[in-house]
């Protein structure tokens, strides 16, 4: 099966051949490297930019204004913080012009910890991004969704922020993307650039399709009636594994992959919480003014009388960075064991 990086590459290939993507660009996005995570290898519309995030986002906005369809990359979301004004402008252009202009553009960026990235390559951005009105915001947790959400992002006529959980980029899916060869070695031969000199290489793209994951639809990954667990991106697979452990013990937790953060699938969350009365929100962004707190408020508002115990947010520690030493990272970012412990505690709280 494709991993997330391959899935992104396949979607971009489909985008540039079928969906009118005109430009895929960012630092080291074009040849020879094809992206620091290989996600843009072998494509035809890729090019390398100067080391200037403000120029990258301004370029994307201008291309969108002039009728192009840009996919811009910020190499790590950690490096978007010098250009949040431009993110705001991209998000407000349709509204400020009373519908006069709209900006069909995608900004992709790898987020989160999990690769020993230390202080400046472990950041999350969803809490700040969800506070910028006018953006749709998605984050996949598996290869198939990575493909389908990127197709939707490209098709959307609004600015869409596509966050790629960097710790999962090498993780293979367990479902085929429609059109993906069944044999993953074949996929590798066809679309992964060789190490070393790549100047002669061209990919042999498999016939992927317009399979998409609609923006705004969460996915119920595990059903259960004891605890509602809402996650996305990096930590979602850990939530699923923890639920499987508890299921063996007869504790059935419902795990929901949000997939779209803005606009998010409130009905699905609400239905689940009304059933379980117990809520665990999981993400790795720092915990003060965290997007999970928005979900929590909305759910407390709507499901207050269903709640049996206080809802819980398990998020990143409120510290200035994810430290490099393993014990530092381990205690800054929720780990699978922490998620399992939190689920178990919630499942039995108040009994």
């Amino acid at each position: 099966m494709a991993n997330l990086a391959q899935a992104i590459r396949l979607a971009l290939h489909y985008g540039e051949t079928h969906l009118g993507v005109t430009d895929i660009f960012g630092e080291d996005v074009g040849p020879p490297l094809g992206g620091v995570f290989t996600a843009t290898q072998g494509l035809t519309k890729t090019w390398n930019t100067p080391l200037d995030e403000r120029g990258i986002l301004g370029m994307a906005m201008g291309i969108a204004l002039a009728g192009g369809k840009p996919v811009a990359e910020i190499q790590f979301c950690d490096y978007m913080f010098n250009a949040l004004d431009l993110m705001k402008l991209a998000g407000n252009a349709h509204w400020t012009t009373n519908g006069g202009w709209h900006l069909p553009m995608v900004v992709m960026t790898p987020v989160g910890a999990g690769i020993h990235g230390s202080i400046y390559h472990s950041h999350s951005i969803e809490s700040i991004a969800t506070h910028l009105p006018g953006w749709k915001i998605v984050m996949p947790s598996n290869a198939k969704d990575a493909y389908g959400l990127l197709i939707s992002a490209i098709q959307d006529p609004n600015p869409v922020l596509y966050m790629a959980p960097k710790a999962l980029l090498r993780v293979k899916g367990d479902e085929l993307i429609p059109g993906e060869p069944a044999d993953e070695r074949e996929l590798h031969r066809r679309i992964d650039a060789p190490l070393g000199d790549r100047s002669g290489w061209t990919p042999n793209w498999p016939p992927v399709t317009d399979f998409s994951v609609p923006i705004g639809e969460a996915k119920v990954c595990r059903t259960g009636d004891r605890v509602t667990v809402v996650g996305y991106g990096h930590l979602l697979p850990a939530c699923v594994r923890a639920a499987d452990v508890l299921a063996q013990e007869g504790i059935a937790c419902e795990v929901i992959d949000l997939r779209t953060l803005i606009p998010f699938d409130l009905p699905t969350l609400q239905r689940s919480l009304d059933k379980t009365g117990r809520l665990l929100l999981v993400n790795e962004d720092t915990e003060v003014t965290n997007f999970g707190e928005h979900l929590l408020r909305k759910l407390v508002e709507r499901c207050f009388y269903s709640l049996q115990v206080p809802p819980v947010l398990l998020a990143g520690a409120d510290v200035p960075g994810v430290g490099l030493a393993w014990e530092l990272e381990r205690h800054s970012v929720p780990q699978e064991e922490d998620i399992l412990a939190a689920m178990r505690k919630l499942a039995t709280a108040g009994e």
Partner: protein
Amino acid sequence: MDPKLALHIHDVMVQSRQTEEALIRMMRSGHGYFWIGGPGEEAFGVPLGLLVDKGSGPAHDYLHLHYRSSCTVMAMGTAPIDLLRQMRSTITDPFSGGRNFAGHLSIPQWNVVPGTSTIETQYVTALGTAWVQRRHGGTGISIVNGGDAGTAEGDFASCLNWSSRPGQELPILMIVTHNGIGISTPAAQVQNTPALHERAIPFGIRHGRVDGNDPQASWAALQEAMAYVRTERRPFLLQADVSRLYGHSSSSGARPEGGRDCLSEYEAKLADQGLLSPQQAAQIHERWREHLRDAVHQVLKEPMPTKDDVFTHIFYRAPD
């Protein structure tokens, strides 16, 4: 210069000045909250507007404008009443539906992209429209303007850098309207030279400087710069020295501040050349003043946004 053109430029300059004065009167009478605009920039801004290749899409020029550019869009054909609508924040304001400050323009059908207050960000969005135009070919260019103080933001350097990448040069006309000040801070206090166009030098970008108080010199300089950008598909940086006649904005009173007045200078010149007598000039002013009086009356009758208008156009939905 052809006398007909010379007189047309004058007429639009008067229209523009009278519009700004009407805007200031509206603001003072409580029919608007805030004024910012371009009195003192007409001798440059009007020729600019007249020289624009007006239209929609990359075959035509894109405009990434400063908040002192109303004269430029009036030269392109915007009716003064539309500027009054934005001052009044009516729902009929075609630029922002009552949402944005006066002079923050947006005209999709003429490639006038959303005007913002965030100083200098237009210099990076201009890169994108120019990039599309580079690929599109033809003679359409991207035009971006801003003030002298704004060049201190990194975005100005970004524009110079990105537009001059070897083999990927962009058809972009960068303009700095230099009025010698930013709000209250004199340029000489914060910049080592008034020759800001020289910022182009290390990037190998062609550049020039013009007396923006002289409409004929401005016309010539713009024509030359535009011809270069249109045909060579390369960037050009043009500095225009202008005046900020009525101060920074209504925050500083929108009161005369001194400095050369390009309009009265031009009228003296046209009189010298026997093209326009002071009486004729006065009549033109009076005609526009009357036009604007009527326009203000009209605007005051138009509807304002309501609660529901807060929530429209957050996301675009393609028509089915």
